[in-house]
Symmetry: C2
Subunit: 298 residues, 2 copies
């Protein structure tokens, strides 16, 4: 009956390693009642979490963004993450770190909670469809508008993800893989769980943080990497029309890395196949990942 | 250690009546991961849930709002609510009905979930502070902007409540009881868990649904009740300045009913005491509640 029992996974529930089916939380936890939680997702290479320092920095930033005084230090979380990875023992793991404001009497005031809860989900990193990388993604422009920074800042990874869930739902209804979300000015922000890039001639562009998006860690690494290789990496706003008329487009995400976009709203983007610049960046990024992993070991 | 053990409560967890401490949910439930859930809150008089039909209608409306195909009929939920109320056996109960999109593999696509989960929390209705009713509430104008309808419609009661949590947090930091939330046009929408009203001369005004707010059940009942009594009940937009300059102001909520506002951003509103029109409406509403309860019994 459950779709997921074949999957290898373990959960660190407030320090205790438990099986997936035993990983529960009180329904009086604010994470469940209000989405009053923050999270991060990364994955491991050879059992070593990638860009972990950056992810934990961002977790701290998310905490600040919702006024949460984080009860767990980075060192503590690193040890707990390591413990969880060791327990699962797989080389390639998906890792999700969730911290909630904790359980308490029902009410919006965060002071009602007693102490924060943390969970670390470690599971076998799924094999993403080869089609994504070889043929590219089909995306739509979502009708749902990305949360504005003044309401719920998209640069906070929180338990409030209905905005993106609804955009993804629209994509699936249209037979697409993902949705591009615009802000209220009609500017492109990001996809539902990834940053977006377009290539126009020699320019490699991604929207700036001010557009209202999550400052992706792969996004930041790729900006630096491209610049190091003399490429014209630009943070600039663009519209859905510019996206549709781009030569190439792709997304970046910590778990999926670089995936080409080849279709928008049912129409081919550029040639309708992954472009040469996207392939070149993918190669550069893969080399960078290998070097970074080596540096962790030395 | 727990602040809440003195409180009498029970939980209906997917049909099974359990103690509060046994009311848990998988951390793989979408309600916990993404706030992918809907809810309603009502309360009982003499063990009978008030305005239940209206609350269940609104629950169905919330489900439609997030594209959730509700697996539970109103009749089914009524029976489960009744079962829960009977089990707790108190005359005045707070009731919270929560429905999540269920558990599944981690991912935004709602199709990943298997089947929905429902929870009904029944607990002793708290005695709200007498000060609220006798002296009135102190509120602030929140800097956090209410979610726009095109992002997450405030007329959906969902598990995404960080927007309101942050506004309430601002209020508490300023020593206030609650926060008034504006939309991106600067119009007043609602408080963090209640509708807001102002009185200007003979006019009794509350913002229209188009401003981006939850269509409150007490709000709707009071609009009809006031009209029936020949009062000038108006749905109209107003700004924070109009609110500050109003003769009187109050909030409505299913559990709190009518509570005067007497202070905004640290300054007295009107006389700084609950106003005469607010008192008159409170009396009318209390009579209406008594009559409605009697009609349920006959």
């Amino acid at each position: 009956m459950t779709k997921s029992t074949s999957e290898k996974s373990l959960v660190n529930s407030n320090g205790k390693i438990v099986k997936r089916e035993d990983a529960t939380v009180s329904i009086f936890d604010r994470g469940f009642l209000f989405g009053d939680s923050i999270y991060e997702v990364t994955h491991t290479y050879d059992q070593v979490p990638f860009h972990l320092e950056e992810h934990l920095d961002r977790l701290e930033n998310s905490a600040r963004g919702i006024g949460m005084d984080l009860e767990f230090s980075k060192d503590f979380l690193k040890k707990e993450i390591d413990k969880t990875c060791q327990a699962l023992g797989l080389p390639r793991q998906y890792l999700r770190i969730i911290i909630t404001r904790g359980e308490g009497e029902i009410g919006l005031d965060p002071a009602l909670s007693q102490s924060q809860n943390f969970f670390i989900i470690a599971k076998e990193l799924p094999e993403y469809p080869k089609r994504w990388y070889e043929k590219g993604l089909s995306v739509i422009i979502a009708q749902v508008i990305r949360n504005p920074k003044k309401s719920i800042d998209p640069n906070v990874k929180s338990g409030n993800y209905l905005n993106n869930v609804m955009a993804m739902q629209q994509a699936k209804e249209m037979g697409a893989d993902d949705a591009v979300m615009l802000n209220h000015k009609g500017q492109v922000t990001e996809c539902t769980t990834s940053n977006i890039w377009i290539i126009q001639g020699q320019k490699i562009m991604t929207p700036p943080l001010q557009a209202g998006l999550l400052g992706g860690i792969t996004r930041k690494a790729l900006l630096a990497l491209g610049k190091k290789h003399g490429l014209d990496m630009i943070e600039s706003n663009f519209t859905a029309d510019s996206l549709k008329q781009a030569d190439e487009a792709f997304i970046t995400s910590s778990t999926k890395e670089i995936v080409p976009i080849t279709k928008i709203d049912g129409k081919n983007l550029g040639s309708g196949n992954p472009g040469e610049v996207t392939k070149k960046l993918t190669k550069l990024y893969q080399d960078y990942v290998r070097e970074t992993i080596s540096s962790y070991k030395s």
